[in-house]
């Protein structure tokens, strides 16, 4: 019997799994996709917001501030990218400037550092700021992270501490037992004392398995983005328009940890929660709206467009609570923005305020909090690189020339706990195919390495999901 079964291996589920794995608990995570971090965690703006934006008194406000406080330590323990770039909220005109004052006041109450910049001061830092911009509120401690890396590292740490991960294990039903729950998946049934529903856009679907009326309905909203080449770096800070209740945070420019710039997102309600395609209207909206705050964004240097689906609901706030009349069944739903920034706060809240009332939670002093740092060749000194290549020549064979990823790093990411089993899984972990050629040269090489390391035929190697095969048949001889 598991003490906790977590449904969904996004950032909420994986951070929670890690924190729980530091206690004397048996933990399992079930995930319907072929890899972790494949939903909202896969496609978002990658920002650790400081927490100035959410309305006072909300869980979003509380957990965002808490999450932003916890991220740096977690990144340090797990060896994750955490880059403080700062966020400019760019006001255009008097009305928006007034709203900056509201945000500044909230920030002050929440002890979030900020400063105001005149148009001239801001322009000096960000020459591409539009002339419409009259004043800037700078949250200079705002950081960007690499969400998939974070989710992978958390899951890896949890697995090393004994947690179980089951991929391709969609929750097909939940039985309420006298004490606990029986969680069905196509492969096996898991007996659980408590269940955390962190199923993202499917949270209402899961809740309905045990609740007649969960009290919320998911209303997924899609956001589309452009990704710019690393050579085109139009901004140094994250540039936001002034947020509005109606339109959320608006269209941003985000300098990511690897030097690509994200431009987006729009915000469209969609019927199919799996509909992560892009649309001409959506991208047109992004193009039009980014010009409100920024000039001359080189969208012709786009190397990819993508969309992500926000697990939003008919509630404005996060829904993190025990389901009524179901002890130990916890919904963690509607975790849209600032869900990534809040994740460590959400995890603590679930453990301290909700799970601890149902199960005994005793910290495990033996549990590992760190993980063996992966070798990242491009971040090593010349001396260290040479030592690594001498020890293991596969670090000297560069597979992805755009991102300079070696064969050794790819092999490592396949064999680590929670390792890659698909081309996209490798791409998420060590980045071959993220560059300007988008895998044109390296995908065939990555495919061969996956086949060899997993002991399967190249015909069985998938792009992402279990059915997404890349090669159709052997060539006629």
């Amino acid at each position: 019997m598991y003490d906790v079964v977590i449904i969904g291996a996004g950032i909420t589920g994986t951070v929670l799994a890690r924190d729980l794995s530091h206690c004397h608990l048996r933990v399992a995570v079930i995930e319907k996709e072929n890899d972790i971090a494949d939903g909202a965690t896969m496609a978002n703006s990658a920002i650790v917001h400081t927490g100035y934006d959410p309305e006072p008194g909300t869980l979003k406000a509380k957990l965002n501030v808490e999450g932003a406080r916890l991220w740096p330590k977690m990144c340090e323990e797990l060896g994750l990218h955490y880059k403080t770039v700062g966020a400019y909220i760019a006001a255009c005109g008097k009305e928006e400037e007034d709203h900056l004052d509201v945000l500044a006041k909230r920030a002050q109450e929440r002890e979030i550092p900020y400063r105001f910049l005149s148009r001239q001061e801001a322009k000096k830092e960000e020459p591409n700021l539009s002339d419409n911009v009259t004043k800037v509120l700078d949250f200079y401690t705002t950081a960007v992270i690499y969400p998939w890396e974070a989710a992978c590292a958390c899951m890896e740490n949890a697995i090393e501490n004994g947690a179980d991960l089951f991929l391709n294990s969609e929750c097909t039903g939940i039985e309420v037992l006298e004490q606990g729950y029986l969680v069905h998946t196509p492969q096996k049934d898991l007996l659980a004392r408590t269940v955390v529903n962190a199923a993202g856009v499917y949270a209402d679907h899961i809740a309905k398995m045990v609740q007649k009326d969960p009290g919320f309905v998911m209303r997924p909203r899609r956001g589309e983005y452009y990704v710019l080449d690393q050579d085109a770096q139009p901004v140094k800070h994250i540039i936001f328009p002034v947020p509005s209740a109606a339109k959320g945070k608006g269209v941003l420019a985000v300098p990511t940890v690897y030097g690509n710039t994200l431009i987006g997102p729009n915000s469209d309600y969609i019927d199919d929660p799996d509909d992560n395609g892009t649309s001409s209207d959506g991208l047109a909206y992004v193009r039009t709206n980014i010009s409100k705050t920024l000039n001359s964004i080189p969208l012709n240097r786009s190397i990819r467009t993508f969309s992500g689906v926000r697990p939003a609901s008919d509630h404005a706030d996060f829904i993190i609570e025990e389901a009524e009349g179901l002890p130990g069944f916890i919904n963690a739903a509607s975790i849209e923005s600032p869900g990534l920034a809040s994740a460590p706060g959400i995890s603590r809240y679930i453990i301290d305020e909700l799970l601890s009332k149902r199960i005994e939670i005793v910290p495990d002093k033996e549990a590992k909090r760190t993980r063996k740092a992966p070798v990242v060749l491009s971040e090593l000194s010349e001396e260290e690189r040479n030592r690594m290549i001498k020890e293991n020549p596969s670090y000297g064979r560069i597979i992805c020339r755009c991102e300079q990823v070696s064969e050794g790093e790819i092999i490592d990411c396949i064999h680590r706990p929670c390792g890659a089993i698909s081309v996209k899984g490798v791409k998420k972990r060590v980045r071959p195919g993220m560059g300007r050629c988008q895998g044109g040269f390296c995908e065939p090489l990555v495919l061969n390495i996956l086949a060899r390391e997993l002991g399967i035929s190249p015909l069985e190697v998938v792009l992402d999901s279990q059915k997404s095969v890349i090669l159709e048949s052997e060539n006629r001889k």
């Binding site: 395609g277 001409s280 786009s302 467009t305 064979r397 044109g440 060539n475």
Partner: protein, 420 residues
């Protein structure tokens, strides 16, 4: 730090030709750095015929063409380092590379020749809406899977873009038993060589949809369907022209881009019209001692011209190494009417040592046109040309004598001649 007379980055068609030429010109202390496990570059996956008509006066396959140069290089004892990826290039002519055999190494040279090739434009650089399932490949990627790895990527195929690799793959996959439903080209004319349109599409009854583009992809795991639409003069899809094809494979053959992150990081001045470095008549970039040639300079139509251009660049580098003299003030040679770019982009009248061949492309198809070479306002020379296509490279030679006499910048135009 090991110092060389010359370092060549890239061991494909351009790099091998440059290496052979340097040796022939007495530059002995050279090294070729090649990322792949064998020399020859992209030629190795081009197993179709049609290479070498200009260079060897016979039709060879890609690997056979490469083999000729590999043999020449071997005979001249060219040092080719395989599985060697260059990671940095600096304007002081130091080069950093990584290989399993040598580790992380920095070397320096008196001259560097960039022969880095090009990459295929990917989906992100063009706007196709919809999902991102498996089954979408660049044409060159599918070619590698088929010709090097031995696997077909799909059985029901549509091809976007009439670039030559896409056309070649239409034929190749048909011969391997796939059904190719069509090739869409957003322009009103083909972007491939006329011979490829004939031999790869018409001979197999594969429809070419001109002024059409793929606007949307469908499918969650693997591609299931594509949407094809006609476009207007501004290349915007025309509502109501949607057609759907149930295919499992979409190949993208939508353009090649010179691979220049090394040159850009080294601060070498680029020419936006070619997306490669600006070079003079000796193929030297504006960074002294660094030369560029081949598809890494501008995308060619035939490999023969790549080899030829690399030879010129190596001759330029050899002369630079031997003479190191001031060549005087350059005069620009610019693309004029109906010409999209000009390579090289300048000449040195005070050092007009040889004829200079210029490579360029026309902006639109023309039945008849007159090449007009002007220096300032003065018309130097005209030539008649027929059947001009943007897919085919044009060449014009200025003689050493003509260059020596130049006093003003040169413009080369293609004036269209329309029949009465």
């Amino acid at each position: 730090m090991r110092h060389y007379q010359a370092v060549i980055i890239g061991g494909g068609s351009a790099g091998l030709s440059a290496a052979v030429t340097l040796k022939e010109n007495g530059i002995e202390d050279i090294v070729v750095l090649e990322k792949d496990c064998e020399p020859g570059g992209i030629l190795e996956q081009c197993i179709h015929n049609g290479f070498g008509l200009q260079t060897f006066k016979e039709q060879l396959s890609g690997p056979a063409y490469a083999e000729r140069y590999v043999k020449m290089a071997e005979k001249l004892n060219v040092d080719i380092r395989l599985n060697t990826m260059v990671t940095e290039l600096h304007p002081d002519k130091t080069v950093r590379y990584i290989s399993s055999a040598e580790g992380d190494v920095t070397i320096s040279a008196d001259a560097i020749i960039l022969a880095v090739g090009c990459y295929e434009r990917a989906r992100g650089a063009i706007n196709i809406m919809g999902t991102r399932p498996a089954g979408i490949y660049t044409a060159g990627q599918a070619q590698r899977y088929l010709n090097i790895e031995g696997y077909m990527v799909g059985k029901k195929v549509f091809i976007l873009g009439s670039g030559d690799i896409g056309l070649i793959m239409a034929r190749r996959m048909t011969l391997e038993g796939a059904k190719v439903y069509g090739v869409a080209e957003i322009m009103p004319y083909s972007n491939g060589l006329p011979r490829n349109i004939r031999q790869c599409l018409e001979d197999f009854n594969i429809p070419l949809y001109l002024s059409h583009t793929v606007t949307r992809t469908f499918g969650k795991d693997r591609l299931e369907k594509i949407e094809l639409m006609q476009v207007d003069e501004k290349m915007n899809p025309i509502p109501g022209t949607e057609q759907y094809f149930d295919v499992d494979t979409l190949l993208l053959s939508v353009g090649l881009i010179p691979e220049n992150h090394l040159a850009e990081e080294a601060g070498i001045r680029m020419d936006p019209a070619i997306r490669g470095p600006k070079v003079d008549d000796s193929y030297m970039t504006e960074t002294e001692g660094i030369f560029a040639c081949g598809n890494g300079l501008h995308v060619h139509d035939l490999v023969d011209f790549v080899s030829l251009q690399a030879k010129r660049a190596a001759e330029g580098a050899a002369r630079y190494l031997k003479e190191k003299k001031d060549r005087g003030t350059p005069l620009a040679v610019k693309p004029g009417e109906n010409v999209s770019y000009m390579v090289p982009s300048c000449v040195h009248p005070e050092d007009a040592n040889a004829n200079v061949e210029f490579f360029f492309r026309v902006r639109k198809p023309m039945d008849k046109a007159v090449v007009e070479i002007r220096s300032g306002e003065t018309l130097l020379r005209t030539m008649n040309r027929k059947k001009l296509m943007p897919s085919e490279m044009e060449r014009v030679i200025l003689t050493a004598k003509e260059i020596a006499a130049l006093k003003e910048d040169v413009t080369i135009s293609m004036r269209e001649v329309t029949e009465e």
